[in-house]
Symmetry: C2
Subunit: 84 residues, 2 copies
C-alpha cells in the first residue's frame, strides 16, 4: 500500500484571485508581514500497487490526465510506502 500526496499549485504566471483575497483578509487582520498568498490543492491518495515504481508511474499519469490542469497548474508529489 502506498500513500501519495499530490501538491497542485497555479503556475507563477497565472493570477490567483483566491490567494489575493486571502492575503487582503490577513492584512486586514493585522498580519502585516504577509507579502503573498497562493492557493493550491493537496490530494491524498491511497494506492494498492505492487511496487514503488509502478505507484509512481500511476500517480504521474493521474496528475497528467485528471488531477492537474497542466495548462495553468504545476504538480509535485510524495509517495510513501505504508504497511499492507
Amino acid at each position: 500500500m502506498f500513500n501519495a500526496k499530490v501538491y497542485i499549485t497555479l503556475k507563477k504566471s497565472i493570477a490567483d484571485p483566491q490567494g489575493n483575497a486571502m492575503k487582503e483578509a490577513l492584512l486586514a487582520m493585522k498580519y502585516d508581514g504577509v507579502k503573498d498568498v497562493r492557493m493550491g490543492k493537496l490530494i491524498e491518495i491511497k494506492l494498492e500497487n505492487k511496487n514503488a515504481a509502478e505507484a509512481e508511474k500511476r500517480v504521474r499519469d493521474m496528475c497528467e490526465t485528471l488531477l492537474a490542469n497542466t495548462v495553468i497548474e504545476d504538480y509535485t508529489y510524495d509517495i510513501l510506502e505504508v504497511g499492507p
Copy 2:
C-alpha cells in the same frame, strides 16, 4: 523572508464528497489500485518576519483564526527561511 506552506486536510471523521467523486473518476479511468482519495488545501504564504520563531507563531495564529476551520479540518505547516 520566510516561505510557509500550510496543508489543510479534512478530519478523518468528516465525509469528503469531492474526494469520493475524484476516486470514482479515477476508478472509471481504470486506475484500479485507488483505495481512497481525500481533498485538501495547500496555502503558500510569503512572510516578512524578524525570526523563525515569530514567523511560526504568526502562521499558527493565521491557521487558527482564518485559514483552517478547526472544527472540521486539521492543519500542518512547513516554514522555510529564504533570502531577503
